[in-house]
Symmetry: C2
Subunit: 479 residues, 2 copies
């Protein structure tokens, strides 16, 4: 049975018109939210995280969501839940994910404007959270109104749930608990993550992957006491040299990773995807001299810089120490050497399998006299792989393209890792990304900002999105 | 012209008898010296270093040395100079080298007896300096008296100079200045170093080499700022991984050093030397569980543990650091990585050539995006290579053997480095080692001690030495 929620005597208003008409009020409302320093990392601001949740909840009620709750019934910081049923029991069930907590605003002296006193200057909204993620998640409020106006409906064309958590910037430690406690309220056919961006302000794009990660420490123990390197050196194992040998063995001369089984589950991009990536307007020398502050691109042979970041797994050393590290020399063979390692994962690589493979790799290669142990930190984060030909991905790209004057929408893969894979796994649903952050937004840094025209386009994209998705077969998850 | 200093009506007294008769007084005199905490590393004890020099000077005068001076005319801590001409202008000119400063006695709570209150318990002399080097250098006083008594002479059979410096435990920073300022007083046909030991209490041996060393820091610079390893990892150089790669490249799978030209000047031991080393009563498993506290012998293929320490050069990492070293993880590609490296040298390896070869090795291998620099600390220390078939070495072994009841005297090579090569170079003379320290003496550690019977044998060996050497052609240096 289908219930028609459309009010037949309403004249549909195109999405851009609703967005334009409502934008100034929407922006003022957002700026009020940005005044609340909802820093999840700082316990002194945990009261602000609750205030922030309540502010969003109130704004969602004003927008028309019939059910709005602030969840404080788990160890998680307050999360906001909102639900607006389509009225059609066969409608696609969509869970939108984002967060309302923000990064700390330390480095006060480097902010050109106080971080929690938002203002618009020359078409740019300045303030902590302007982009990540308050600015982006708030777009849903104007977006859903534009959708209703454009379709003449009184309820969205999809069964719409928003889950806006309060501790993403602290690593989403309780997202699993939140979802399992509220399983009935968060069942989904599709997850829409609104916490990423576009390639640049002139190049709309949809993220189709985030890397997973496993982290740990490689410990190499040699002699039980520091030895004089004159009297003993050359005749016993030096744990620093052994650590170097083991870490160096992770890569061959082409910077391929040599750990047997490591690449299991990696999804090789298709020829079409490689061509699309190559077509992105990526300025490598600008990237090197700008954000990367490096003298040369360097990585796995046979892949471009964007592919090395988005499509290829890595083995990285994040820190390393052992022996004498003070001024001058101390001629010792020390007892211990430690390296902090992270492995970024892509496609369908399994964190547990990677941990086992790396552990076995080191154990197999340990030299006589070395005690070699890999200490993993937690269970790792799965990579999030989105099929760019999935109908939901195609529909999302279409919605975004409509908001960017019909420009072609490209696909990108992010190098970082987030809770999205856990979300997709817990909800057993496919996932799409839509958002309008750019590399100029200074997220996680002083002077966070968002271009007002991009926020407006984002509201419009979300105004188009539900209509684009509503036409899809809700069983696509099975394909 | 030869002047006969022998008093013809004196009955010669064999060396052991003089040593036995004079030993108790000699030991009491030594213990008086050990009470003076001549710690060169501690400026608070520099007055004690002067007191120690004056104590030794006074004892040398009592022994009969006609010229005794305390040198305070250079930046060096007080050194003691003593000269006893043979009377024969053709006599071999010998300069004895040793030191009267001692290691700090920290770790007070681990000393079973106060370090500067020497005492003899169960035939063992306890106290800082009992072995290194006061106990050993003081043996010359009773030794020269025994030599005179045995030969019936009133002056030694060699032209005998003692140079006992006051800052060897602080790296002999002014030994070059001391020697050049007093060049006329320190001209030598042979240097006798009394600052080493024997294989063990039952195995007399003569040291025929000390390794040289060059030290420095390998700096690898990657990005100019710490980068997020998710967003950049895999696409730019990671300086920690690069450091590991460069350090690991120093050795091949057989632990041979791969630096081109590194082995230039290494003297391969002869078959006879290898057989002699193999004949040393070395208990490898005892060495592993004891002083080495290691689970396995590990080093260059094709060489025994003793050879790896004494006859082979090494490349060692003494310390290493970079990136994030705190608790938990930080997913960065850091800017810098540093390793402290030392290379031990043997035979005639040239420190400057090794530094150049290693520097070129790293520069040649640096990956794109890496700035690799080797920062050397000073000019290094040459290896000291003694030809075991040199007549002075043979004579020294003979003197030691006589003091050990005719036991065969073996040859050893020390893994450590000292000022001896600089001494040999400055004085342009060959060098021999004679001393009775053992691995049980706890030199440089709490509870330093020396076996009284070994000190007695050492006095006797020095009593025989001048006679053994006097018979040699003083031009042997040219051979």
């Amino acid at each position: 049975m289908t219930v028609d929620n459309a009010a037949p005597d309403t004249v549909p208003v195109p999405v851009p018109e609703t967005v334009t008409a409502g934008f100034d009020d929407w922006l003022a409302d957002l700026m009020g939210w940005l005044r609340i320093p909802s820093v999840s990392a700082d316990p002194a601001h945990h009261g602000d995280v609750l205030t922030s949740a309540e502010y969003l909840a109130e704004a969602l009620r004003r927008t028309g969501f019939p059910t709005v709750e602030v969840w404080t019934d788990t160890p998680a910081l307050p999360a906001v839940y909102a639900h607006w049923p389509s009225g059609d029991p066969d409608a696609l069930r969509v869970v939108v994910y984002g967060h309302h907590d923000v990064q700390p605003a330390d480095g006060e002296e480097r902010w050109h404007h106080p971080p929690f006193e938002p203002r618009v200057i020359d078409g740019v909204l300045h303030g902590r959270g302007a982009s990540d993620d308050k600015g982006n998640i708030f777009m849903h409020l104007l977006g859903v109104r534009a959708h209703l106006a454009a379709t003449g409906r009184t309820a969205p064309a999809v069964d719409l749930t928003l889950l806006v958590e309060g501790e993403e910037e602290s690593g989403s430690p309780h997202i699993g608990q939140l979802l399992s406690r509220h399983a009935a309220q968060t069942s989904a056919d599709l997850i829409v993550v609104t916490d990423t961006g576009i390639f640049d302000a002139d190049t709309p794009s949809v993220c189709v992957g985030m890397r997973g990660v496993v982290s740990g420490e490689l410990h190499v123990h040699g002699p039980d006491i520091d030895l004089h390197s004159g009297g003993f050196g050359g005749a016993v194992l030096n744990p620093l040299a052994e650590l170097c040998r083991l870490v160096a063995a992770l890569h061959d001369d082409d910077r391929h990773i040599t750990v047997p089984g490591f690449y299991d589950g990696v999804v090789e991009p298709t020829t079409a995807e490689r061509a699309a990536t190559a077509a992105l307007p990526f300025d490598e020398s600008g990237w090197l001299s700008g954000p990367a502050q490096s003298r040369a691109a360097y990585g796995e042979a046979g892949w471009s810089t964007l592919e090395r970041i988005g499509s290829r797994p890595t083995a990285e050393v994040n820190g390393m120490w052992g022996g004498y590290t003070g001024p001058g020399g101390k001629t010792i063979v020390p007892t211990d050497a430690i390296a902090k390692l992270t492995f970024r994962l892509v496609g369908h690589q399994d964190p547990a399998a990677v941990m086992a493979a790396v552990g076995a790799f080191f154990a197999d290669r340990a030299a006589p006299g070395a005690r070699v142990e890999m200490h993993w930190e937690g269970g790792g984060v799965r990579p999030l792989y989105v099929d760019p030909t999935h109908p939901a991905t195609v529909a999302t790209a279409a919605a975004l393209g409509r908001a960017f004057d019909g420009k072609p929408v490209l696909f990108t893969r992010e190098g970082g890792s987030g809770p999205e894979a856990e979300l997709a796994e817990a909800l057993e649903a496919p996932l799409v990304f839509i958002g309008v952050m750019t590399n100029n937004d200074q997220i996680h840094a002083p002077n966070e900002n968002a271009r007002v025209d991009l926020l407006r386009r984002g509201c419009a994209a979300l105004g188009h999105l539900w209509e684009e998705l509503a036409g899809l077969d809700r069983d696509f998850a099975q394909r």
